[in-house]
């Protein structure tokens, strides 16, 4: 079970997308897990053949649990899918994350059930069926409950394995946000800076850029913000990476976690990979795809694990300024407020100009305000040269 967020402790396996004997290759979606952030597709990051599926549908397991094993083509030893996934996942930074209660303790989790004699496979199947073991008569030695007993009970109750709940539970997401943001405010000494930027050049250029294009090919101002924020990180790599175990490690790529507000509440920031290297058209396409999947379901685990920084854009119905809370273990969050028309001094004359407030929340353990100011100045400068974005 991969860690799909800063404070994820466990997840429920809701669907296997592969079966025993299937050939898989790196990047394939092998399962869907339900987390506090909704149903997330889990990918495999190795090639091989599925040799063992260890967690049944419906079972909730802690982060780090081996979900399945794959054997490499021709390899003698099986590889743990979860171990492979764990390579891609960042090590949880907080010591609390390694708490022993998250070890695979499910069979003894319920005191009442633990007094019953139950075979492990029967216990797992009962959990999948959501059956109370206390209500099942065992036919094994000394009344031990066997797999056949569980299946018979399930059949009697006319319960096919229940459709495991999928989709977003907003109260659960709120808990996840609360946990991550509380940890951020507790552990990260934030500092905040902002810069007010004239968007006249950027929006005029974008209008020309979009003028001859079909609606599907037009680019939103948010894409210019994203690209400028990503490019400026190349100049200030200390804002792009992770602070873990008392040390900062700069990321090798710029994977921007793009904050997506969910209707009805909630927020998720999946990654737009290599945002500094993508064209505006590619970024628009990535953003459109990501926003849709964030709201409808279908985000992938790698998209939640890989952001190296977060960018939030409140859009044309948001507030004029936004000051963010860093998503740990990242070390910076860049915020773009609503574009507003304001008086602006141009060549000693006052003109009406579209203005945006750009903010930076950064981790004082890694950088200081001088560097942060240089970063915001770089974003502002890039937005004056939109043709180079």
């Amino acid at each position: 079970m991969p860690a799909l967020g800063a404070d994820m402790e466990a997840g429920t396996l809701v669907e296997w997308c592969v079966k025993l004997g299937d050939h898989v290759k790196s990047g394939d979606v092998i399962a869907v897990v339900e987390t506090q952030k909704g149903a997330i597709e889990v990918e495999i990051f190795a090639d091989g053949v599925v040799s063992n599926i260890l967690v049944p549908v419906g079972e909730r397991v802690p982060v780090g649990t081996v979900l399945a094993r794959i054997g490499g083509a021709g390899a003698a030893e099986a590889t743990s899918a979860a171990e492979t996934l764990a390579v891609a996942a960042r090590t949880p930074p907080s010591p609390a994350r390694a708490a022993p209660e998250f070890r695979r303790a499910q069979p003894s989790a319920a005191p009442q059930a633990s007094r019953l004699k139950v075979t492990p496979v029967a216990r797992r199947r009962a959990a999948a069926f959501r059956l109370d073991l206390a209500g099942i008569r065992g036919s094994g030695v000394e009344g031990a409950i066997r797999l056949a007993d569980v299946e018979a009970a399930a059949s009697k109750a006319s319960t096919a394995p229940p459709a495991v709940k999928r989709g977003l539970d907003l109260s659960e997401m709120r808990k996840a946000i609360a946990a991550a943001m509380s940890r951020s405010k507790r552990e990260i000494p934030h500092y905040y800076l902002s810069e007010t930027v004239d968007l006249h050049a950027a929006l005029a250029w974008l209008e020309r850029f979009n003028a001859e294009k079909e609606p599907i090919d037009r680019v939103l101002p948010a894409v210019l913000f994203l690209k400028a924020a990503a490019l400026a990180l190349r100049e200030q790599p200390k804002l792009n990476g992770f602070y873990e175990n008392g040390t900062f490690a700069a990321a090798e790529a710029v994977h921007v976690g793009w904050a997506v507000a969910l209707r009805g509440g909630g927020l998720i920031a999946p990654a737009i990979l290599n945002a500094d290297k993508k064209s505006l058209a590619e970024l628009m396409s990535s953003m459109r795809d990501l926003v849709e999947r964030a709201r409808r379901g279908g985000l992938r685990g790698s998209e939640l694990m890989s952001p190296t920084v977060t960018v939030t854009n409140v859009g044309d119905r948001g507030a004029e300024t936004v000051t963010g809370v860093i998503y740990p273990p990242q070390v910076a969050l860049v915020g773009f407020g609503r574009v507003v028309m304001r008086p602006w001094v141009v060549d000693e004359r006052i003109e009406s100009r579209p203005i945006v407030s750009i903010s930076l929340a950064a981790d004082h353990r890694v950088t200081d305000g001088h560097l942060g100011g240089l970063y915001l100045a770089a974003v502002a400068r890039l937005l004056q040269e939109p043709e180079r974005l």
């Binding site: 037009r218 948010a222 459109r288």
Partner: protein, 82 residues
Amino acid sequence: MTDEELRRLILELICEIAPEADPAIARDQDDLRETFDLDSMDFANLVVAIHKRTNIDIPEADYNKLFTLKSAVAYLLAKAKA
């Protein structure tokens, strides 16, 4: 297309973009973005969808004419006849 057909089409497309939207609450003069909590990406997707279904060209400069049901229907009718 008639007024009513266009109105229905716009609401149908909004419901595809924002599945939880309740078209019954739509009022002609209200801002669709406010009524249905549409952000700039949703609105861009609405324009794409209208263009795809009607083949009516909608320049970016005219997006503000689609902000209410009433203005959107009037705009699209005029463009369709042009």
